[in-house]
């Protein structure tokens, strides 16, 4: 059996990559994909702990996270499409009306 | 996992479902909004009937209890505690029934912002049911204050000319009393460590002099709501300005929250103070009876007349409750229902007239019986019921109240003098005076105004609105025992507990 730590480590690495994607990239779609990656790494951690504690609750939770992710993607992509219609761009830096 | 929803929670919050549906309607879907509200209120009424079927009249304690810890911080012990017993079961039914009928009565009367009207109305129903079902002081207070908001909106948005003035007056008056009650509730919750009403009642042990102050604090809130003389000044304003359905609910149910509060909290929690203060409350009640009757007689506005008559009628209720014997208290509870039915019907009747003629000045009418015979006959029944003719509902309640208060006036009773009853019985004569005067002004004599000649008699919807109330008027009048049986066990238990506490408390 592979030690639990490795899985957690892998999960952390993937999570960090996801964060970097959100912070560095300007393409809204890729940012979005990075968010998905982060969710995915969290899922990995959940499954790992479910295995560790021999409890199915973790897996059920992952199931719900997937459902939420699906919903989020649907709405998120719709938002992106809507924004693209308005601004003809998916560059998040174009959207800075909060600028003080 | 059990997802069973207890009936009391269901009946209280069922109107919310209707509200959610209403939110999805467009503003121009008036008919849909009406139907949604009507069906919701009818289902709520159905649920309350199911509760009645489940209710065991022989059991004097709270039934169908649900008790879930709610706010448990900093040593506070607040719970979501609902229950129904003989003191409240009839009021629940009255509330759900009158709500349905009121919604039916707005069918053509409310044309403006129907959706919002219905939303507020259903919220109001939720709040009222909560007030009658809550058995935790804090929860009760939340519902109590909650009812203010929709009523404020109903008066303030759909009311008459001076609606803003009336709405604000209504709100401030009730708030002023409530604040004293809130202080008393907090005192009880903190020093007695619970907000749970049965527990507080069972504990006893509140020192008599403190009971006195707590009685007054609770009493202030309730007396304003009843309204007891001389705190009635908000009532004519609110009634005159409120839309018909609002008046019906205001008179039919909201005022009962005050008398119910006295019954549930003051009598139960502060028995010693109740016994000691009973003659004073009875004195105010008797003044209210006579004063209300006299002032009613001098009104020109028929709605105001009915409003002041409420002061008189609720004086009877208070007199009965503070007779502190089973005839008086049961009569008082029954009279709450009777007043809800009769005065509710009177406001519906006035509303129908107002919808046709857009005036409530009694001088503008006369001879309507000839023009609108069905309407006249139904009004006559309601008027007779309101003045307490035997065989109709008002008599049973008033007779029991006066019989009880006479008994309480004998040596050994709490009132100490039969004069309370003798004077209150004069109120029955005066009731006949102002009600027959009203009936004569509206319906008898020749038709003097041309515009009255063409009025249409009431239609099927309006008959349907009044029919359940008329049936109840006869039912309670001819065979009141089913209603009395519902409350007798709880009332007897309450009185026994009070007697024990009062005997123990008075050295």
């Amino acid at each position: 059996m592979v030690p639990i730590q490795y899985f957690i480590g892998l999960s952390a690495i993937l999570f960090t990559i996801g964060i970097l994607g959100v912070l560095i990239r300007r393409n809204a779609i890729i940012i979005f994909m990075s968010v998905e990656l982060m969710l995915n790494s969290a899922n990995l951690a959940f499954i790992t702990f479910a295995r560790m504690y021999q409890s199915l609750d973790g897996q059920v939770f992952v199931f719900f996270v997937m459902a939420v992710a699906a919903a989020e993607v649907a709405v998120g992509l719709a938002l992106i499409v809507a924004i693209f219609r308005n601004k003809q761009s998916i560059d998040v830096d174009q959207i800075n009306s909060l600028h003080g | 996992m059990n997802y069973y929803i207890d009936p009391l929670t269901l009946v209280t919050f069922f109107p919310v479902i209707g509200i959610v549906v209403l939110l999805f309607l467009r503003a121009d879907q008036k008919v849909h909004a009406r139907w949604v509200a009507l069906i919701t209120s009818l289902i709520t009424f159905g649920i309350s009937l199911a509760i009645l079927a489940q209710f065991n009249p022989a059991n004097p304690d709270l039934q169908m209890v649900v008790n879930i810890p709610w706010i448990q911080v900093a040593g506070w012990n607040i719970s979501y505690f609902m229950g129904v017993d003989g003191l409240s079961i009839l009021l629940i039914l009255l509330t759900t029934l009158l709500t349905s009928l009121s919604i039916l009565s707005t069918w053509t009367a409310v044309q403006d912002r129907v959706k919002e009207f219905m939303i507020f109305f259903l919220f109001l129903e939720m709040g009222m049911l909560g007030v009658f079902l809550a058995q935790d002081l804090f929860l009760f207070y939340v519902f109590w204050e909650f009812t203010l908001v929709p009523m404020y909106m109903l008066i303030g948005i759909w009311g008459g000319k001076r609606r803003i003035y009336a709405a604000i007056k209504f709100f401030l008056y009730t708030m002023a009393g409530s604040i004293l009650m809130l202080l008393a509730i907090l005192w009880l919750g903190i020093y007695q460590d619970t907000f749970n009403v049965p527990e507080l009642a069972a504990m006893g042990g509140i020192p008599p002099n403190l009971q006195f102050w707590l009685f007054l604090a609770f009493g202030a809130a309730f007396a304003i709501k009843v309204p007891m003389w001389p705190l009635h000044s908000w009532l004519p304003d609110a009634h005159v300005e409120a839309p018909t359905a609002g008046s019906v609910i205001l008179a039919g149910v909201l005022l009962k929250m005050g008398t119910y509060g006295f019954l549930r909290f003051n009598l139960q929690l502060f028995p010693i103070a109740s016994v000691k203060l009973a003659p004073w409350v009875a004195a105010l009640a008797v003044i209210g009876i006579l004063y209300g009757a006299a002032v009613s007689y001098a009104q020109k506005d028929v709605k105001k007349l009915v409003a002041y008559s409420s002061v008189s009628h609720l004086g009877f209720v208070m007199l009965g409750l503070f007779a502190l014997n089973s005839q008086g208290v049961q009569g008082g509870i029954l009279q709450m229902i009777n007043h809800g039915i009769s005065t509710g019907a009177l406001f519906l009747i006035v509303g129908m007239l107002y919808e046709r003629r857009h005036t409530r000045d009694m001088d503008a009418f006369g001879g309507l019986w000839k023009v609108m015979p069905i309407y006249g006959a139904l009004t006559l029944i309601v008027v007779l019921s309101s003045m307490g003719l035997p065989g109709l509902n008002g008599f049973v309640g008033e007779f029991a109240i006066l019989l009880g208060s006479w008994g309480a006036g004998l040596p050994g009773g709490v009132l100490g003098s039969p004069w309370f009853t003798a004077l209150a019985a004069l109120g029955i004569i005066l009731a006949a005076v102002y009600l027959l005067y009203m009936f004569q002004k509206l319906f008898l004599g020749p038709v003097t105004k041309e515009e009255n000649r063409v009025l249409s008699d009431i239609n099927w919807r309006e008959i349907l609105t009044l029919a359940p109330l008329i049936i109840l008027i006869f039912w309670i009048g001819l065979y009141p025992n089913p209603f009395l049986n519902l409350m007798s066990a709880s009332v007897d238990q309450l009185l026994n507990a009070m007697q024990t506490a009062a005997v123990a408390g008075i050295p």
């Binding site: 009306s97 | 035997p390 006479w406 004569i429 009395l484 007798s488």
Partner: protein, 705 residues
């Protein structure tokens, strides 16, 4: 007693007693629901049949009582049960209640039949045929309520009927609610009746309260059984109960001081006056006292008061009757006066005499009212006929608008035009005045005999009343039927149809022979009532008293003939402006005016009770409640005071102190913000980065601390 021995074990129909209420209720329900689709005849006969069936049941009950004189209590249902309070609806069947049932249903049925004809015309004269149905519904309701009243086995059910008949009275007095003085007179009369009755009921209900807390029950049998015991423990309670009941009686039976409603009640259609305001409802008070004999017997001082109230009423009302011109008003005051006789009788403990007079009075007073109705109808017919007849139009004009078919000054000489009505009216009048051997003589004589024995003061008052009775009846007979017609309608009046005259003839027969019920030789009625009331003394027939009263009656009639048979006719020759309207006016002067104005009792009540109450109500409503409490106290004191307070707070304290501090603070914040705004780039990524850095820092702190 001997009757029950003769029929040793007959059939027993006591279980049928609920039907006496049920039949009229069915009648009224059917007429309410389907009357709109039925013909007038069908409605009227259905209602009459309902009353008639009640009568049949009452007869069956009477037959049963012959075999089982002890009667029975038939319980139906629990009505109100609260704690120790338990009110049943039960029927008391005994000789007393059955007597009342027979009178109510018997006279009621005849009047129903009469009304079929009378109301047919009346609704047309008044111009609203749609109300025909309503009339019979109300009449059946009345019969039902009256039956509840007389058949109740406890005081509270009696009270139900008591108020119920009051309601019917209200509805029927105001039957033509759009007619009368200023169009509202009839409605006002109904209201007056209801409220006067309510004042009486106030006494009754207080009596009921005392009774409950002393006896613990309302049931007749239980109360009467306990009465002697209670009387020794709480004598004051019995006195209070009986006195308060007397208040109820003065309301319902129109005694001093509450009699004022009954004359006004004549606004109702004539059959209503006959049934409710002469024969049945108004006698309920007499029934109540008779029923409560066991209580009244315990308190002689109250009995004395009752007797004096009755006798005073008898005399007082008789004087007023002398000065009236309205044919029905005369009869109304006569009714009050006769009720006074009955109340006086039962007050003296002469229950049999009171009940006897009640029965005979029901016959002859109903007869008088109904034949008066026939007269009114005849005049109205003629009046209407002439209005639509253009040739006769011209001479009609002077009294066209003011023609009052009930004013006796417009009558005269009708005996030739309406023969049947005349003869039955004459029989009724003779019965009322008390000329032997008609019914009134026997019953009135019995009362007078008892009074002579027990209460001399009442005796002399009633003797005077009897004299006046004969005088005003003679006056009425002479003014209405004799002499020459004094108006065109009176000249052309015609006899009424058989549907009206047949009931009159039946009633006339009863009025003539009703005295046979309790002839002094046999005392049939006394023995009959003994089964309900226990031992009763029977007044011995006294030739002296009977002779004196008969002599007075004949003298009064002679006096009436002098004045109205001769002088009045002679006066008709004088020119109208010099002619007094009544021959008594020049003789009595201002006294006649007082009689005509009913001693100004109505005006007195207006001045001392009603007007003050109205002013008080307006004062309370307008000045105290509205201007002082609503406007001044709440709007000026509270709201105004609060506004002042807020003014002070907002200008001096808020603007002067708090606002200044806040403004300074705000300015400094503003300056700081201007420097810091550079940070806000507006890029989401940027914010996310700072968020992330924060997360890392906090995590690091948590892990490494």
């Amino acid at each position: 007693m001997w009757l029950s021995e003769a029929v040793s074990s007959g059939p027993q129909f006591f279980y049928l007693v609920p039907l006496v209420v049920l039949f009229p209720v069915i009648g009224l329900l059917v007429n309410t629901a389907f009357g709109g689709r039925m013909s007038e005849k069908a409605i009227g006969w259905l209602a009459s049949a309902a009353a008639g069936l009640s009568f049949v049941v009452a007869v069956l009950l009477g037959i049963s009582l012959l075999s089982y004189p002890e009667g029975a209590v038939v319980p139906i249902v629990d009505w109100i049960t609260i704690g120790e309070l338990n009110i049943n609806w039960g029927f008391q069947v005994d000789t007393l209640s059955v007597t009342m049932m027979l009178v109510v249903a018997g006279v009621g049925t005849l009047i129903h039949i009469y009304s079929i004809g009378y109301m047919h015309d009346d609704v047309r004269f008044q111009g609203d045929p749609g109300r025909y149905q309503r009339f019979f519904v109300f009449m059946n309701l009345f019969i039902a309520m009256m039956m509840i009243l007389v058949s109740a086995d406890n005081y509270l059910m009696l009270f139900v009927g008591w108020e119920g008949v009051g309601l019917c009275s209200y509805l029927l007095i105001g039957f033509w609610y759009d007619k009368g003085e200023n169009g509202i007179g009839n409605a006002v009369a109904g209201k007056k009746a209801f409220i006067a009755n309510r004042i009486g009921d106030f006494g009754f209900i207080l009596a009921a309260f005392i009774m409950f807390w002393v006896f613990g029950t309302f049931e007749f049998n239980a109360v009467f059984e306990l009465a002697p015991e209670v009387a020794s423990l709480f004598p004051a309670a019995i006195v209070a109960i009986t006195l308060l009941m007397l208040v109820g009686v003065t309301g319902k039976s129109a005694q001093i001081p509450l009699f004022v409603w009954l004359p006004d009640a004549m606004a109702g259609p004539t059959p209503v006056s006959a049934l409710i305001h002469a024969a049945t409802m108004v006698t309920a008070g007499v029934y109540l006292i008779t029923r409560s004999a066991a209580l009244y017997n315990l308190v002689p001082q109250v009995q004395n008061i009752v007797a004096l109230v009755g006798a005073a009423t008898a005399l007082f009302a008789a004087t007023i009757a002398v000065g009236q011109f309205d044919i029905k008003k005369v009869l109304a005051y006569s009714t009050i006066s006769q009720l006074g006789f009955m109340v006086a009788a039962v007050g003296m403990g002469a229950y049999v005499a009171g009940m006897f007079h009640l029965v005979t009075h029901a016959f002859f007073k109903a007869l008088l009212f109904l034949s008066a109705g026939s007269v009114i109808l005849g005049l109205e017919h003629a009046h209407h006929h002439m209005e639509h007849n253009s040739q006769l139009k011209l001479p009609m004009d002077e009294n066209d608008l003011h023609f009052d078919p009930q004013d006796m000054r417009n009558m005269g000489g009708l005996r030739n035009r309406m023969k049947i009505s005349f003869w039955v009216y004459l029989i009724g009048a003779i019965a009322l005045t008390g000329i032997p051997p008609l019914a009134g003589f026997w019953s009135k004589d019995e009362i007078l005999t008892d009074a002579a024995n027990f209460n001399p003061l009442a005796y002399w008052m009633m003797l005077a009343a009897a004299f006046l009775t004969a005088f005003y009846m003679g006056r009425q007979i002479l003014m209405v039927w004799f002499g020459k017609p004094r108006s065109l309608p009176a000249e052309h009046a015609n006899e009424s149809p058989p549907i009206i005259t047949v009931p009159l003839i039946i009633l006339a027969a009863l009025a003539a022979t009703g005295g046979a019920l309790n002839l002094p030789m046999w005392h049939t009625f006394t023995h009959w009532l003994e089964d309900s009331l226990g031992h009763l003394h029977a007044a011995e027939f006294s030739l002296q008293i009977a002779g004196l009263s008969s002599f007075l009656v004949l003298a009064a009639i002679f006096l009436a003939w002098l004045l109205y048979g001769r002088k009045y006719q002679a006066m008709q020759e004088l020119p109208p402006d010099k002619r007094p309207d009544d021959p008594l006016r020049p003789i009595l002067g201002p006294v006649f005016n007082a009689l005509n104005h009913k001693w100004w009792v109505d005006e007195l009540y207006w001045t001392i009770i009603i007007n003050p109450y109205v002013s008080l109500a307006h004062f309370l409503a307008d000045v105290v409640d509205w201007r002082f409490w609503h406007d001044w106290f709440h709007d000026t004191v509270i709201v105004g005071g609060y506004n002042k307070l807020t003014q002070v707070l907002s200008i001096q304290i808020d603007l002067g102190v708090i606002d200044a501090v806040a403004n300074k603070l705000g300015d400094s914040v503003k300056r700081a913000a201007a420097k810091w705004r550079v940070i806000e780039t507006g890029y989401v990524r940027n914010y996310a980065l700072s968020f992330f850095i924060g997360v890392v820092l906090i995590l690091g702190y948590l892990i490494l601390r």
